[in-house]
Amino acid sequence: MEIIEKIISKNGLVFAFLFVGIVMLISFWISKKIFKNKIPGVAIAILIGLSLAFFGDKKGIANIPIFAGMAILGGSMFRDFAVVATAMSADISKIKQAGLAGIISLFIGVTVTFFIGAIIAYSMGYTDAVSMATIAAGAGTYIIGPVTGTALGASSDVIAISVATGVVKTIFTTIATPLIAKRIKLDNPHAAVVFGGLIGTTSGVVAGLAATDEKLVPYGALTATFYTGIGCLLCPSVFYLILKFFGF
């Protein structure tokens, strides 16, 4: 046993390849045999991934030493690298056509999310402008939250809530996208560009679209990747001042 543990901990990334491969195999088997392909294997694999995260702590399953390699495989470097690679299958004319809609949806996405987030924070007892802005920014993505909170000098528990809000969004997007896709006509590259701009959490958008229709991933990812930057720009400045202006 000791030898096995030693080999695994020394070759964490390689073990992660094997482990994820097995998860994929099981997921596609469940999808085929139990759900008759009605629920995509990818969606099941992502759900299994999310539930595995419960066994760990801050870094999900990667907190368990033998699964430490999962943090490398699932980390932002590999994620971004693979997402960029999906651009090879994207049709540039479709992106051009959806470009304007994508830019508009980015700004509407950040704005709507922030102010609704602020109203929810207010109605739940966080009535000062700094806390409202921080939690609302977290409703954008879990990066905008702490960036805004730190810039405005929010307390650490409010920053923690904002991070949690962003993580809830990512997980909810992952699970809900395939369920709601048909109803919001998310079945073409154009809508995927808009979806990426409105939702913005790159991990959630990519995982949700993968579970819906793999072909849509590059289109959603393209706009979603600008969201966090725009949020970090607007939330602690313009949006915070607007909250101040309204007397919070």
């Binding site: 992502i46 991934g49 999310l50 995260a53 419960f54 702590d57 801050k58 999900g60 990667a62 999962m70 943090a71 495989l73 699932g74 994620r79 971004d80 690298f81 997402v83 960029v84 690679a85 651009a87 090879m88 540039i92 056509q97 959806a98 470009g99 809609a101 949806s105 709507v112 999310t113 929810i120 739940m124 609302a136 977290g138 409703a139 960036v147 923690a160 809530i161 991070v163 949690a164 809000t165 993580v167 809830v168 969004k169 909810f172 809900a176 709601i180 919001i184 006509k185 998310l186 808009v194 979806f195 409105l198 991990s203 590059p218 990812a221 990747t225 600008f226 966090t228 930057g229 725009i230």
Partner: protein, 124 residues
């Protein structure tokens, strides 16, 4: 050779990240703004250019396709390493704010999808 494709991908990736970070610096937030997006545009543009020149042969492309196929396993690994516990323990505010804002934005998808599309329909 496949490594040429992987190298092309890496070049676009790093250059995109550089652009994203420079843009971040430019507007005074130390963050990457759309680095991945820039990288994707660079990859699309360079692959079109190289294909025209006849330099991008299928064997080279395979290096990119491999990583493009790897993103689903990577997303599964990412899901398994999310801080799910924090999401659950972040309290009621986090859950309500996270879910309500997401649903509202999702419902806006069909509305905003109409932009830039109406004038395309008659052509096709």
């Amino acid at each position: 050779m496949k490594i040429y494709g992987v190298a092309l991908l890496a070049a676009c990736f790093l250059l995109g990240k550089l652009l994203g970070n420079l843009l971040g610096k430019l507007i005074n937030i130390n963050n990457d703004i759309g680095g991945v997006g820039f990288a994707m545009i660079l990859l699309m543009a360079s692959s079109i250019y190289l294909r025209k020149k006849g330099w991008l042969i299928p064997e080279t492309e395979k290096g990119v396709w491999f990583w493009s196929a790897m993103y689903i396993p990577i997303i599964v690994a990412m899901a398994a390493t999310l801080n799910v516990k924090a999401a659950v323990s972040g309290g009621f505010v986090a859950v309500v704010a996270g879910i309500v804002t997401t649903i509202i934005c999702m419902l806006l998808v069909p509305v905003l999808s109409k932009i830039g599309r109406n004038n395309e329909i008659p052509k096709t």
